[in-house]
Symmetry: D2
Subunit: 467 residues, 4 copies
């Protein structure tokens, strides 16, 4: 999930707590569990009867919060956020939650996803005198709330969210309310749980609920504005005239295997991807091995269905830091070996299948395959637990641009040659859908099939990646 | 100038550079020289043909900027700021410069001073949908610029600054302009200089010009909007229907003695304060000593005029850090002695006069006087190089509130008793004015005489100190 | 491998480089790969024609060395060390390498293991006037070298090492030699490899050779003193009158699975432990799961032999920091869940077998088993890939004392009850030996069978754990 | 006192506390007050009934100790040290106190000064098998104590110190004793005070006593070994067959002006140096100014005696950090101005005398004089409050080598030209002695007159500066 690995990068993870005296601390643990959704910056805002405090910084949750920070984040209401940012340290202005005040109200907002009409909304707001201090969608949304404030609060929510196009799962904290919103397509996940003390938690994935020992209630529905306040739960509905389109890539790569997403367990789903792959492919090999750890679960499914042994052919160094000392010239395979070392006697003279969850740029795979051949693997095959990722995502996943997506420019055979493989097979799109047990129409699979539920703004590409 | 010392606290120092390839670096040295005007946060924004980069943090200039930071702050145009903030580390949102974008323009602003109609301006802006992320005046001013943008740029400047009431010296950076503004009363200083390469510098005090080896040209005039761009200098004038009212406290305490302020050298002025005090007082003593280092210059003037020896009766520890380990119970005079230690044989049995620049809370003075008596001083007199500070400042100096200003609640005799002195004498207001050589009508001396040039908003007190 | 986990703690990992211009950098990568053998402190000493430079600090290799450090560690000869220390931060005096000078010679030494006659050797040395600045065995050994220096260098090596009793693998760096020594029993591993440029590497495990792309030559022999200098390799032999006794626990837990130890691959050996366990046990269950990652390899062996599915029933959070914010009171299972979260739907209603490598204190296991039952596991069985660890180690492994070793005080049935298991089975000692393919007489298995090759000094226990 | 300033560098400051439950904390404050004697490393060792704890690090006292550190330094007995080190960060091995154990005893030692027979003592010890881990004299002394231990403790002290040649003020901490030693010449200061609670303090200067509110009792005598234990004070005397030779440079530069050294107040002494200089010189000038702050006190004496005004012609920036960002090319006088800025209107057209305490390399002075001329000073004269420093110090002051001492290679006239002065005059040696009020024979003035009380070892120069 590191930059250099060419892996896709999720933009965000969200967690909010309502009705617990340790709201900021529980939020901290919630985003701790969601760290895999964004490792560049994190933040928490808490409300103590309308007095907002906030702590945001670049870095990992475990590094940037201290007991002192959490004690200063007083109140029984809090929201938190983890984020992947694409530029440098100056990006702290884009860290979330985003907090602003208007006519005596303070709002904090955190979002996951990507609007596709940001440019148009900003233009309209700037014509009315609005100024912008960041490039986040959250700032745009809070401006809209302010401009709609005269209509009354609930009406202003409806007016505001009705103007947004694209993907958004949002947490909004007011003086005494926690509001959770999911766009009408429901691209990104967001679920509701109950704390032991009766309070509520809203989070991107159920693994956050598990850590704070909350009970899962249900997902926030596509098009739902859920208001949690002292009177309990209340839903306002956005107009929806189409079926949901859930992001299927959450199952392929992003979500933690122990989470349930869109009501379905990720581990089980990945295992089925492997099982279906085993049905679709027929490879004569000595064993199957994952690239740890993301390929582990599909590899188990493949192994059980194909009745071929599973081995852990590459061992992770658990103590790899985030920055590296430059190796010496002679260490040509350094970038692979510092993280993963092949088990030499296991691989020597063997025909192996590698299970990989996806191929984005293809650079990392090439050197890993070479490392296997260097220790004597006789044949190296690779199976991928999704179809080729050929198209960019406009809904919150930071795929590289077209020109860097290897499958956008190359045939499967060309990719095979480029990676130095004996064979390469992808899971079919139908197979991927089958692994979820849901109908094909439930999903956004634009990165595989170019079918975008919300057509992107012509100016969009620039803005989206200029973030 | 530390919090615990009960000294008045200046809010800000400003420096901007136009037309030098190392603009950010020169700005860095400029605010380095102005560090005495604010020690809590600092920041620089630079423009590289409209691409704005920024670095702000809590702490001293020498601590928070690295070579790397300065290299990332590319461009030949930059502004910088140092600030004293009254609350904790969360105050980073109030650090300056403040940067925002509107309709393709990016503006960075830094200010020194305090508006007295902030509340009213924010209300009007919020009614039009504006949201606020900080409590700085700069954010209000940039909002006004955006709301006046339709009028054309120069007209929008005039419209915006005409709405402001109170004290402000402002630097505004656009894509390719450096704009320097001083309010019509000219409360706070701001001067213009020329770099060796032909570029320009604008700064709060001339000591910033000296460090970067620039030549002083003139002060920005009260009510002047000076626009510096590739065509040179151009002035727009705000309507002014009254004479300037310069802050006389800059001479008493804030400005560096090597600076010229409002066209007058601070060292010379302070020396004259001491000389006039010597005329006004007649104290029979063995020598005069300053509390280092702020009383040094008036003490020299006093010594030369009264023909009484000058001695350095208390020695500073040059290695005092900003935080302290708690002393043991037996160390009752710790807070004085860790910074200043009396020279025992010098003081024993002697009648001494202390020169102090001002008394704000009176707490520090009391323990220092006690330390002198503990080592055997026979008589301890004190002379103050300004009149009693009895009234709050609404124009940018963070005096404590009325209830904490010792002279607001006590007669001079009561203060003398409270400090444990044999005698206490203040410089007269006329004597203070005389030390400047300027007419009395030139100055704001509200902290001494309750004559406020711009009457504060009734709601002001709360806002001003709630910052 | 964290303290709170109750896992056994290895004392040290070693790496030395001879004959490479980037000796310190290669040593850095060597100890980077050996980080699992000690995480508390690390250090490197380098010799540039006898000018010794050194950097040691508390913390992980990836954190405590910078490019600048490595450049200052000039020379083509270097040794490095990672260490687990049992006390606090003040323990930097015990960090290695240990460097001292004597009659113009500088020696740096690093060791893995534990002498059992330290007390006696120190007494003798102190009687001759020696003073000690640390409690490391290395300091004792260097003192002995100095006291034997008159005999000539090679003779002094023989005299010195002949006096040592216990376990030691040692690297000694002189002005221009790298000397590698293994005690006559060969308790701890040490192997020799060849760099691509013709230079040499000596390291605790072959995974260090892999990272720097060196070729394995052979192990340092038990009782061998190997001198590497500009003339090549030269061996002096210590008198040996018994067969080697290799530490079998290296296979059970310590060594990385991708390493070869004592000539045998660890992954393969662990897989065989699982396979033999599957033969020895007969458990009717739905699947076998490891506690990640140490149980992975034996679980694979068990799964393949027993033909029972392997699942990854608990998912690691890859972003767990080394210190934790205290959880709230309601989070009772926090210490398990923050690291490992059970996959709820996988476990619900299932009969599961857990593969664990060893049980030391038993505390961690208990809460993990509870976490599985909490999500609905119907039966929880556990198999251990070694016999009960009943006795302390005097040769370099920091097992807890007798009173904390759960198997020292409890029967298997009592442990089963304590952990809340449906069944608990350990691998037999013969099975463990069989997994290595070597004769039983090759091993020290004192922690299992109380058969100590070198009887510990009566005073030993105190000293060993007072380190 | 920074390296780049070419100022002489003191090696050390010492403080020890006996009989106070907060011994480490009081020691901390003691070395805090002595920070001017060494700014590179600091350390404290404390004894809690023989259990020694220690904290040492590179950096300032105020930076490297926390409340936590002081609490871990338990016990009612402690010694501390500040040190100037001539090499890089790796020098932590040379930080003091130095702690070692021998036959159940633990000794911690800290020293100020320099032995001239270190090489010979080390040779003898190494012949007996001793090894050395640092290049400090303390390590040599502790070795000697161990080798003499058989003689009984007090005899071992006498035997040990009788072997030392050169300058040493030493604190030695045993299980329950604080031992203070001054060499028979008494080169370096050391004084004894009484704490309010009845305990004792020993420190290099009385300013340390002042901060912890202790009462000065007396100096440790030259040749005295003072043992402080539960029975009180007890003195053993080293054989002395010559008069003391106190370092006169302590008065010229090192000691704090508020301290008493060798029984005499430093401020008063420096003032007399200025007064005598005024008698010896006759310069027609407008005023005298010091380079702050070291020249302040002699300048006051000169001003009062010559009846010429004193001015503070250069202003210090109080916020200068210890490292600098590189200036731009155009800032040629940066290194002066960043610290000291001339007061332009004060200097313009004036004839000024600068008071300087000493000239070592001459580099700093040259650029400061230039800065004064640049702002228009008409004449610049300089007077120095000591004679030319022509010879190296072998007793603990880190003067640069001969070739860098400007007065070792140049006549006064040549120095005047080199510094760009109108005139330059030094205080005479007799004048310097007169300022102390003590007989000439009391002092070591070898740096001025080449008369070394203890002739340095021919090999000495190399070792002394190779430290």
């Amino acid at each position: 999930m590191h930059d250099e690995s060419g892996r896709p990068r999720e933009e965000c993870g969200l967690c909010g707590i309502f009705g617990h005296q340790d709201a900021a601390k529980l939020t901290y643990f919630g985003i701790y569990a969601l760290q895999h959704r964004g490792q560049e910056s994190a933040g928490i805002a808490a409300s103590d009867n309308g007095s907002i405090s906030e702590h945001k910084a670049m870095g990992l949750v475990s590094e940037i919060f201290s007991e002192d920070h959490l004690q200063e984040l007083a109140g029984d209401l809090a929201i938190g956020h983890v984020r992947y940012s694409t530029t440098g340290s100056s990006d702290i202005v884009n860290a979330q939650p985003f907090t602003a005040s208007h006519q005596g109200n303070s709002w904090s907002m955190a979002h996951n996803g990507n609007l596709i009409n940001t440019r148009q909304l900003r233009d309209e707001l700037e014509d009315k005198g609005a100024i912008f201090q960041s490039s986040t969608d959250s700032e745009v949304v809070v401006h809209l709330l302010a401009h709609n404030a005269h209509a009354g609060f609930e009406k202003s929510l409806l007016n505001t969210f009705a103007k947004l196009k694209g993907a958004y799962s949002i947490l909004l904290m007011t003086r005494d309310q926690l509001i959770a919103v999911r766009d009408p397509y429901g691209f990104r996940p967001l679920c509701l749980g109950r704390l032991k003390n009766g309070g509520y938690i809203v989070a991107s994935e159920t693994c956050a609920l598990d850590l704070v020992e909350a009970t899962y209630i249900r997902d926030i529905e596509p098009g739902e504005i859920l208001i949690i306040d002292k009177d309990g739960l209340r839903t306002i509905s956005l107009p929806v005239n189409h079926s949901p389109r859930l992001c299927i890539f959450e199952y392929v790569y992003f979500a933690r295997p122990d989470s349930n997403i869109f009501g379905l367990n990720v581990y089980s789903c990945r295992k089925r991807m492997g099982a279906i792959l085993a049905r679709e492919c027929h490879i004569d090999a000595d064993f199957i091995m994952p690239f740890p750890d993301s390929g582990n679960y599909a590899a188990i499914g493949y192994s059980q269905t194909a009745d071929i042994p599973l081995e852990m052919g590459m061992i992770r160094n658990h103590y790899v830091g985030r920055t590296f000392i430059q190796p010496t010239q002679s260490m040509r395979d350094f970038s692979v070996r510092v993280k993963l070392n092949p088990v030499r006697p296991l691989l020597k003279g063997k025909r192996v299948i590698i299970m990989e969850d996806s191929i984005i740029r293809g650079t990392t795979g090439r050197s890993r395959v070479k490392a296997l051949r260097d220790v004597g693997a006789k044949e190296v095959h690779m199976v991928i637990s999704c179809p080729p990722t050929r198209f960019p995502c406009f809904y919150g996943i930071d795929f590289p641009t077209d020109s860097q997506l290897i499958a956008a420019r190359n045939s499967v055979e060309e990719i095979r040659v480029s990676l130095g493989l004996d064979s390469l097979q992808y899971l079919s799109l139908d197979g991927l859908v089958e692994s979820t047990g849901m109908p094909k129409s439930s999903f956004c699979m634009a990165c595989f099939n170019n079918d975008y539920p919300v057509p992107p703004d012509p100016q969009f590409t620039k803005l989206a990646f200029g973030k």
